[in-house]
C-alpha cells in the first residue's frame, strides 16, 4: 500500500477529482493548506546573508508569503500507484512554478471502520 500526498493548486481541484474518478480512483481526502516552495525565494538575499551582508540579513524571514493550496491524500494498492501519479501529473501540470508537489510514502496497513477489514481489502475498489 502507498500513501500519495499531492499539494496542488486550488483551482485544479475539480478537474483532478473528475479525472481520478474516471481513472477508477474515487476515494480521497482533501485539506486546505498553506504552503511555500522554493520558487519565490530570492537566492541572492540568501547568499548575501550567508556572507554576512547586513542589508541582506535584515530582509531574511519576511520572505515569500504562504500560498493557499489544496492537499490530497490517497491510499492506494501498490499497483494503482502509477495510475494515480499519471492522472495527477497530467491534470495539474501547467509547466509553471507553483503547480505543486507529489510525495509517495509507504503505508503499513489500513482498516475499514465499518467492517474491520484490513490491508488491501479495506481500500475502495472502483
Amino acid at each position: 500500500m502507498k500513501e500519495i500526498m499531492a499539494v496542488i493548486r486550488q483551482d485544479k481541484m475539480n478537474a483532478t477529482k473528475v479525472a481520478l474518478a474516471e481513472a477508477g480512483i474515487a476515494s480521497l481526502t482533501a485539506q486546505k493548506v498553506l504552503g511555500r516552495g522554493k520558487g519565490n525565494v530570492d537566492y541572492q538575499i540568501l547568499e548575501g546573508a550567508g556572507e554576512g551582508n547586513e542589508a541582506a540579513l535584515s530582509q531574511l524571514g519576511n520572505g515569500p508569503r504562504m500560498i493557499p493550496k489544496r492537499m490530497l491524500t490517497l491510499v492506494v494498492p501498490d499497483d494503482k500507484k502509477d495510475t494515480v501519479l499519471q492522472v495527477l501529473l497530467k491534470v495539474n501540470k501547467a509547466g509553471r512554478p507553483g503547480d505543486g508537489k507529489i510525495f509517495v510514502l509507504p503505508m503499513e496497513n489500513a482498516f475499514r471502520v465499518r467492517t474491520g477489514e484490513s490491508s488491501d481489502a479495506a481500500l475502495d475498489e472502483a
Binding site: L34, M71, K93, G95, P97, F103, P106
Partner: protein, 108 residues
C-alpha cells in the same frame, strides 16, 4: 527522502518558518490542526480542554539534511531555554518518491 512533520504552537509558526528560510529550506506546507498530548490536554479552573489548537508543518528533505532540519525546527519552536509542555512533537517518515508537478520531474 524524509518527510518531517512538526506539530508546533501557533505562535511559534513565524519564528520556525523564518528559521527554515534562513537555513535554506523554504518549501513548507502548513495545516491547522487540533490535538492533545500525553498531558491529556489542559485544565483551566473547572474546564478541561483537550482539543488544543496547533499548527502542523510538513517539510520533505533529503536524508542527510534531516537532523539539521529537525534541530532547526526544535530550536525555533521551543518555549524559553528549557521548553515547556505543549511545545509539540516532530515525526519523521520515509518518502519513497517525490514529483514536481510543473515539470513532472521525479526529484525533490
Amino acid at each position: 527522502m524524509i518527510m518531517v512533520r512538526a506539530v508546533i504552537r501557533p505562535e511559534k509558526v513565524a519564528p520556525v518558518l523564518a528559521a527554515l528560510m534562513d537555513a535554506g529550506f523554504p518549501a513548507v506546507t502548513k495545516v491547522d490542526v487540533y490535538g492533545r498530548g500525553k498531558q491529556r490536554g489542559i485544565r483551566i479552573g473547572d474546564v478541561h480542554y483537550d482539543e488544543i489548537p496547533k499548527e502542523l508543518l510538513m517539510v520533505v528533505v533529503k536524508e542527510p539534511d534531516k537532523q539539521f532540519v529537525v534541530d532547526t525546527i526544535m530550536t525555533a519552536a521551543k518555549t524559553g531555554e528549557k521548553g515547556a509542555f505543549g511545545d509539540g512533537k516532530i515525526f519523521l517518515s520515509r518518502v519513497e518518491e517525490a514529483y514536481t508537478v510543473s515539470s513532472g520531474v521525479k526529484e525533490l
